[in-house]
């Protein structure tokens, strides 16, 4: 079978199948997974080297140690480091080096008992609770709560009183006590893994509950298990040393770290050196375990901060200044008309994916009282374009050129402070997830009146009346009741209405709507679209509507800009573009849309576009759609400008548009040429991925 992926034999029903499977590969996969992290920081490399050296040295101790642990050298009692005794001797003249390393294996080994018992038991209980359902979980959780409320030290001392200083047993009991905490950590993770769809798929396959836990849940927990193990290992060592220090260590002549520290503490004044070697070794070992735990626990890309770094901010400032210098805001744009000219957005030249362009050379105008649709598939740059209008591009992404002209200002070159004055008042945003626009901690009324007061500067009572008015405006019948509810108490459609009311609070002249109906039911979508249409009619504001749904465009938009791979490929009046598309991509999208046909017209097969939207780093300088286009020819292998499409002021980015129109060609529903869809997507760099993320 495929190396690396052989499912662990979870099922005793198939011994023959299980026997064939190599067992080692799975472990090697797990090691590879955590290994790269283990060697990512100098601290954890040092930790691994130290622990490995300690174990090797201790296990081979009889072969190389210069003295036996009980050998007493009365000529050198309480001595410092000498040629004979590298680390000095204790009060009986015993060699410290020998005693420390001889006892290391015991200390580490018994600490491992704690680790295995604590992590093993905790993980097992967590997997059981997550798999077996609510009742079992409740029982296990109550039991662990009781365990956590028990005083651990008292129990361990009681056990010592009853059975003596049986170190392995004591460390095992310590493990049981700690397992309650581990269970807590693991339970949440195991439950979230259990809710994944691939678990459902495995259940449909008929995989047993135990098989699912072992094959799908346990591998997902590995990372946490390893981290917790490293940390508990350190705790176990410290507790063991502590017990030996208060006299509950191994029987007397036998060396132990805690016992040695205890002995040293009696000679703190006359022989302070005695404390140093043992203390240092114990401290270093604990530090090593913690360093390893920290390294393993680090999220894979924890270094990529979401806050703009100083370098990124400087970069952005420089870009803004450069744009402001090169393009003085031209004033020929009418009031409340948005005019975007040659807008480009790219990943900053600092960090991963640097310099990749996400939007190139996008131009469009939105006149007051009109709706512009930005339409295209995921990864075509429509959301980036919309967010740049509000100066809300994610960190690491910024406008790299062009102008966004709005009431005499170039927003592409506006400072954060300027944008704060425009957001909400001049230009407002509604997003795909209405619940994200609302804070779950506060009532709808509190959030709405707060926003109204901030944006309009009016008193509390007036704001309340205004909030009521806004809710009625967005079609909420029992506005007074809704004001008192919390966001989680209302439905998604209602929440989107509230989000729209919130966006209207500052009486904006332009509303940027990023897929506002995608998460809603189709009946609710129709209501929200009607609401937006009547708002546009009543208030004269304009809307930039980002959507992937051509039906939504047909319903609401006056103008539409079709985007493909970061550029506008066709722009013009909605009716002329949807009824008479000129660009092959628009043609293809319409042909692939099952909504475009119904009844007897529904085709046997839908038309498809082979392959997928290329990654931004792979955008060619030629026609970006040529690789997937049915009509592409040699003429397409040069950069294509936007050309007048012949209908009104429409433009199209296709050299063959006229030819296609004359011949009346249609995008054909052909079989997907297999060689086109074979190219696998390589995982993009982290920054590019965030940048392209499209809520669609």
């Amino acid at each position: 079978m495929i190396p690396n992926v052989a499912p662990a034999p979870a099922d005793s029903a198939e011994p023959t199948a299980a026997a064939v499977l190599p067992k080692a590969p799975r472990q090697s996969a797990a090691k590879k997974f955590s290994g790269s992290k283990l060697f990512a920081s100098p601290a954890s490399i040092a930790g691994v080297i130290w622990l490995a050296a300690l174990v090797v040295a201790s296990l081979t101790a009889p072969l190389w140690l210069p003295f036996k642990t009980e050998d007493q050298d009365f000529t050198a009692v309480l001595s410092g480091p000498t040629a004979a005794h590298w680390l000095g001797t204790d009060e009986l003249g015993r060699d410290l080096l020998s005693r420390i390393f001889a006892s290391a294996a015991g200390t580490l080994g018994t600490s491992m008992i704690t680790v295995i018992v604590a992590v093993g038991l905790g993980t097992l209980l967590a997997m059981l609770a997550a798999a077996a359902g609510e009742r079992v979980e409740t029982v296990i959780s109550r039991v662990t709560e009781i365990m956590m409320s028990l005083p651990g030290t008292v129990i361990i001392l009681a056990v010592i009183g009853a059975v003596g200083t049986n170190i392995p047993l004591i460390m095992g009991i310590l493990g049981v006590l700690i397992s309650a905490g581990i269970y807590r950590v693991m339970l949440g993770q195991a439950k979230s893994l259990q809710s994944q769809l691939y678990i459902d798929a495995a259940k449909v396959d008929g995989v047993s509950t135990a098989g699912i836990s072992l094959r799908h849940v346990l591998p997902g927990l590995t990372n946490t298990i390893v981290v917790q193990a490293a940390l508990i290992f350190a705790v176990g060592m410290l507790i063991q040393a502590g017990l030996a220090f208060i006299g509950f260590g191994p029987p007397i002549p036998q060396p132990s770290w805690g016992g040695m520290i205890q002995g040293a503490s009696q000679h703190v004044y006359d022989a302070p050196w005695l404390m140093v070697p043992t203390g240092a070794v114990l401290a270093l070992t604990v530090l090593a375990a913690n360093a390893i735990g920290n390294a393993l626990g680090k999220a894979p890309n924890a270094t990529a901060s979401h806050l703009p770094s100083a370098a990124a901010r400087r970069q952005r400032g420089k870009a803004v200044a450069a744009i402001a210098a090169t393009a003085p805001a031209s004033q020929d744009v009418a009031k409340n008309t948005l005019s975007v000219r040659n807008l480009s957005v790219g990943v900053d030249s600092v960090g991963a994916g640097k310099g990749v362009r996400l939007v190139t050379d996008v131009s469009f105008d939105v006149e007051p009282g009109t709706v512009l649709g930005l339409v295209g598939e995921s990864g075509c740059g429509k959301t980036m374009t919309a967010l740049s209008l509000l100066g809300l591009l994610p960190s690491g992404v910024s406008v790299t050129g062009g102008q966004i002209l709005w009431n005499g200002k170039n927003l592409a070159a506006a400072t954060e402070k300027d944008m704060e004055g425009i957001r909400g008042r001049g230009i407002a945003l509604i997003s795909q997830e209405p619940m994200r626009a609302l804070d779950p901690m506060f009532t709808v009324g509190y959030q709405l009146t707060g926003t109204v007061r901030r944006l309009r500067g009016i008193g509390r009572a007036d704001a309340k009346a205004e909030a009521l008015g806004l809710l009625e405006k967005v079609g909420i019948v029992d506005a007074a009741r809704i004001l008192k509810t919390y966001p989680h108490q209302i439905s998604g459609g209602m929440a989107q209405r509230v989000a729209i009311a919130l966006a209207l609070a500052g009486r904006p002249r332009l509303l940027v709507a990023d897929e506002p109906t995608t998460a809603l039911d189709v009946t609710v979508q129709a209501e929200i679209l009607s609401l937006l249409r009547s708002l546009v009619k009543d208030t004269g504001m304009s809307v930039v509507m980002v959507t992937h749904d051509l039906g939504v465009v047909a319903d609401l938009c006056d103008q539409v800009a079709v985007m493909y791979a970061g550029e506008v490929v066709e722009n013009g009046r909605t009716d002329s573009i949807l009824d008479n598309p000129r660009h092959p991509y628009t043609l293809a999208l319409l042909a692939a849309d099952p909504h475009a046909n119904h009844g007897a017209d529904m085709p046997e097969r839908l038309a498809t576009i082979s392959g997928q939207v290329p990654q931004p780093k792979d955008w060619p300088s030629t026609c970006r759609f040529a690789a997937r286009c049915q009509f592409a020819g040699s003429a397409c292998l040069v950069p294509i400008p936007l050309l007048p499409s012949g209908t009104g002021d429409g433009v199209v980015r296709c050299v063959k548009a006229d030819e296609l129109a004359v011949e009346g060609l249609d995008w054909l529903a052909t079989d997907v040429p297999s060689h086109h869809i074979l190219n696998l997507v390589e995982a993009p760099a982290a920054a590019t991925r965030t940048a392209e993320k499209d809520p669609a």
């Binding site: 079978m1 495929i2 992926v5 047909a554 009824d579 909504h595 046997e604 097969r605 997507v681």
Partner: protein, 335 residues
């Protein structure tokens, strides 16, 4: 898909004597205890059947119980009442061993291509899992995984890759491949294309249609988008708040809906032709269906009555039974 259309074998007759799957008066309640018993059921006495090789679409809004029905059929959801029969065998509360026997014939494709494949396993391992479980050897499982990948339009080398190396559409193809690898008879597709972009959605829909014609598969196609359902399904069942509102041939239900809710649902689905859409919008507004935001009906009666333009006192007191109107069965006193 002209090539596929011309060479494909005759589709098996849907009108076989015994249905492949029969759901009768299915009831599902969430939670347990007195409180749950008093709450309206998530699925309330739903009946439907799927003939071999037939595609039945299950449509409704969120919360209509359509996914719950799919889960109940797959054994992922406990059933409170009614029965589910697969090829004459009662599988309503099938145990693990019966499920395992069933697992190769009754399979699923889920909505989210990001979470329906275990990110820690290679594609080959995920594909092979159902085969290995049934005692297929490692080499043969790999061979079959490669074959099925090729069939869904992915390279054979994909077996050694991880799900994160594929795009959403490709991952959904892999999910389809996983469902088809043990030659099933019925596949439950739960919103299998809703997370995909238009062009990839069309690719996956075509693939599902091809496989149906090639292998005589039956689908239970669960979706909120009636246009998508219409493309694939021969029959459509419309759900509202856990109850069947209308069920019948796809063309009849979508072109000539009888139930006020189906009418609203069909009219609300926008078409990408501005003039036609404007007419549809007007038609939708003239239906007079009220917004669903605050309409939580009490028990008994028709669940749609608070939004329905036709509702009378009768609708509050008596739950309308399904009766045949035109070509379909409609649960409405006034349809």
């Amino acid at each position: 898909m002209s090539t596929a259309t011309s060479v494909r074998p005759e589709a098996p007759l849907p009108a076989a004597a015994q249905p492949l799957l029969e759901v009768k008066d299915l009831v599902v309640r969430y939670g347990r205890g007195r409180k749950a018993a008093a709450a309206p059921a998530a699925v309330d006495r739903v009946s439907c059947s799927i003939a071999p090789g037939e595609t039945v679409g299950l449509v409704g809004e969120s919360g209509s119980g359509k996914s719950t029905i799919g889960k109940a059929i797959l054994g992922l959801q406990k059933v409170s009442g009614g029965s589910i029969t697969y090829q004459g065998k009662d599988i309503t509360s099938a145990g693990a061993s019966q499920r395992r026997a069933l697992g190769s014939e009754l399979r699923a494709v889920f909505q989210d291509p990001n979470s329906s494949l275990n990110p820690r396993n290679t594609v080959g391992s995920s594909l092979a899992e159902p085969l290995r479980l049934r005692g297929v050897g490692a080499a043969e499982a790999r061979q079959r995984a490669e074959d099925i990948l090729e069939r869904v339009g992915l390279p054979r080398e994909a077996v050694d890759r991880y799900p994160s190396q594929f795009s959403g559409g490709q991952r959904q193809r892999i999910s389809v491949a996983r469902a088809l690898i043990c030659d099933p008879k019925l596949v439950v597709c739960d919103e299998a294309v809703s997370a995909l972009d238009l062009s990839t959605q069309a690719q996956v829909l075509n693939l599902l249609a091809d496989l149906r014609d090639e292998r005589g598969l039956g689908y239970l196609f669960i979706a909120h988008d009636i246009a998508v359902v219409q493309f694939l399904a021969q029959r459509v069942v419309v759900l509202y708040r856990g109850q069947v509102m209308e069920s019948g041939p796809a063309a009849a239900v979508t072109e000539n809906p009888r139930h006020p809710f189906t009418q609203a649902l069909v009219a609300a689905s926008p078409v990408p032709r501005p003039a036609e859409q404007a007419a549809r919008r007007e038609a939708r507004e003239s239906l007079g269906v009220r917004t669903g935001a605050a309409a939580v009906p009490g028990p008994g009666g028709c669940p749609f009555r608070l939004r329905c333009p036709l509702a009378t006192e009768l609708c509050a007191s008596e739950r309308p039974a399904l009766r045949t109107v035109g070509g379909s069965d409609v649960a409405c006193h006034y349809a």
